[in-house]
């Protein structure tokens, strides 16, 4: 069984937001909404400052509270790669999943259902990378199977120091940031 995840090299990311634009174009994300976004995390004070730029999105958690709390099964784990998806036809828009996500990765689409990153499952099923990964000009994003020991994502995680965002929230996020 594949387990899809992402590895993002914060040493290479320059925060150009190409991934954000690519996602909006690929997935017709409505104006004013974002499925992915850029966070600048600055620590320290000048001149000893550390700046980490992260391209963030739904973490496709392995222990996803958004799936557990959903009363209709609209939020579910896809059989390919454990990707967390929302079935628009099942979603009643109760917003419990939004409240349950520590990353605030979800939003209400103007058409009423809840929306978020899908890891571009429609592309992945055709053997392509998610749109954000495929456009990154610094090649800082990697998508692949975390269960496959020979995958590029796994090799990077085994060879580089990395961290996830808010692992203490306990949802087992599947996006890792190389330090």
């Amino acid at each position: 069984m594949a387990r899809f995840g992402m590895v993002i090299d914060t040493k290479k990311c320059v925060g150009c937001m190409d991934c954000v634009v690519a996602c909006k174009t690929e997935n017709n994300v409505p104006e004013g909404f974002n499925r992915d976004w850029i966070v600048q995390d600055a620590r320290g004070s000048f001149p000893t400052v550390n700046l980490e730029i992260r391209s963030e999105r739904c973490n496709h958690c392995d222990n996803p509270p958004c799936v557990y709390c959903c009363p209709t099964g609209a939020s579910h784990i896809h059989n390919l790669g454990g990707v967390v998806l929302v079935d628009h036809e099942l979603c009643i828009g109760c917003k419990a999943c939004i409240a349950s996500c520590p990353y605030d990765a979800r939003f209400v689409h103007p058409e009423g259902y809840v929306d978020k990153c899908t890891f571009c499952i429609h592309r992945v099923e055709e053997g392509l990378d998610p749109a954000c990964v495929s456009v990154c000009p610094t090649y800082c994003m990697y998508f692949g199977d975390l269960e496959d020991p020979n995958s590029e994502v796994n090799k990077l995680l085994n060879s580089r120091k990395h961290h996830a965002v808010l692992p203490e929230a306990g949802t087992k996020p599947q996006i890792f940031y190389l330090e």
Partner: protein
């Protein structure tokens, strides 16, 4: 220093969560008060108070029916994808309190209807004559009435508990993620219900009993509120920051003045005087309790949405 900037500005999500407006607090309040009223009128049925023509157990289920329907309407108004609401009833998700709640609500209606049938309000019995014969049947079996009372108490408790579990199961919001929340909401539902039934009770016996019961509920509610805050304050930084929203932050004035002061302590003092026959029973105390219960839901829902794993350390 740690400064975080984010390019995301999703409506309803950023800068802090505001997905639930007035509808959810109103729904939680009405659900809670109906839960309390079901427990109280169920208790009266169980104790055989139907012999007293003035028993509030004849009127309370009818009012509960109306209030619950308003609560369900508020819940429905909150849904963003309204045309798909029926999807809730095509499945049952064991891990989802929302799913549990939807099914409990559906089961509550037949129980309330059974309660109403024990003594059908005049305007209904005149229009729907056949109801009279059902009512006669129920009344010819005293154990049936007792059992209706018991089932009402059980389902009332389930409803009251669920209104708290709904929020406490959402681990991403530190203020809600507390195992005492269901007890707090159940007790608040009971105290508001006792206050409401006290207001409409015709019999002196009931007024006195309900004021006494309300004093117990209010005292317990106060204790649970203290435990709720202690639980948060002795937990992680995000939980401490969440508690500070109520103790000293934006929600502190509402919390201390309307929930604790005017919603619990002052009415408790007034009712303590009343049950000890130092003063007459005043409608002001129960009204304060009901308003306090309503504001409690608003404060908890709104402060809970503001509490967060990210910003809890920064917002005070």
């Amino acid at each position: 220093m740690n400064e975080i900037t984010n390019t995301r500005m999703n409506p309803g999500i950023d800068p802090s969560l505001s997905i639930w407006n007035w509808e959810i607090p109103i729904y939680l309040f009405l659900g809670g008060i109906v839960a309390g009223m079901m427990i109280i009128s169920g208790y009266f049925l169980f104790k055989g108070r139907t012999k007293d023509v003035e028993c509030s157990c004849f009127l309370v289920p009818f009012i509960s029916f109306i209030l619950l329907s308003f609560g369900m309407l508020a819940l429905f108004l909150d849904l963003e994808h309204k045309a798909y609401v029926w999807r809730v009833y095509t499945t049952f998700k064991i891990k989802s309190p929302m799913s549990w709640g939807s099914w409990i609500l559906i089961l509550i209606y037949p129980i309330l209807i059974l309660n109403i049938l024990i003594r059908i309000p005049d305007f209904l019995s005149k229009k729907l004559k056949f109801l009279k014969s059902i009512s006669l049947k129920i009344n010819s079996h005293p154990t049936a009435i007792k059992n209706i009372g018991l089932v009402s108490m059980i389902f009332g408790a389930l409803l009251g508990i669920y209104t708290g579990v709904l929020l406490s199961s959402l681990g991403a919001r530190p203020l809600w993620n507390n195992s005492t929340l269901w007890i707090l909401f159940l007790l608040s539902g009971l105290s508001s219900a006792a206050a409401f039934v006290h207001l409409i009770a015709k019999s002196k016996y009931e007024s006195h009993l309900l004021a006494k019961a309300d004093n117990v509920f209010l005292s317990l509610e106060l204790i649970v509120l203290v435990l709720f805050l202690i639980g948060l304050l002795t937990s992680t930084q995000v939980h401490i920051s969440a508690a500070e929203f109520l103790i000293s932050g934006n929600y502190a004035p509402l919390f201390w003045v309307f929930v604790i002061g005017l919603g619990i302590i002052i009415p408790l003092i007034i009712q303590l005087y009343a049950v000890n026959n130092k003063i007459k029973h005043q409608p002001v105390a129960p009204i304060m309790v009901i308003i306090g219960g309503l504001i409690l839901r608003f404060v908890i829902v709104n402060a809970g949405q503001a509490s967060h794993w990210f910003n809890a350390g920064m917002l005070k």
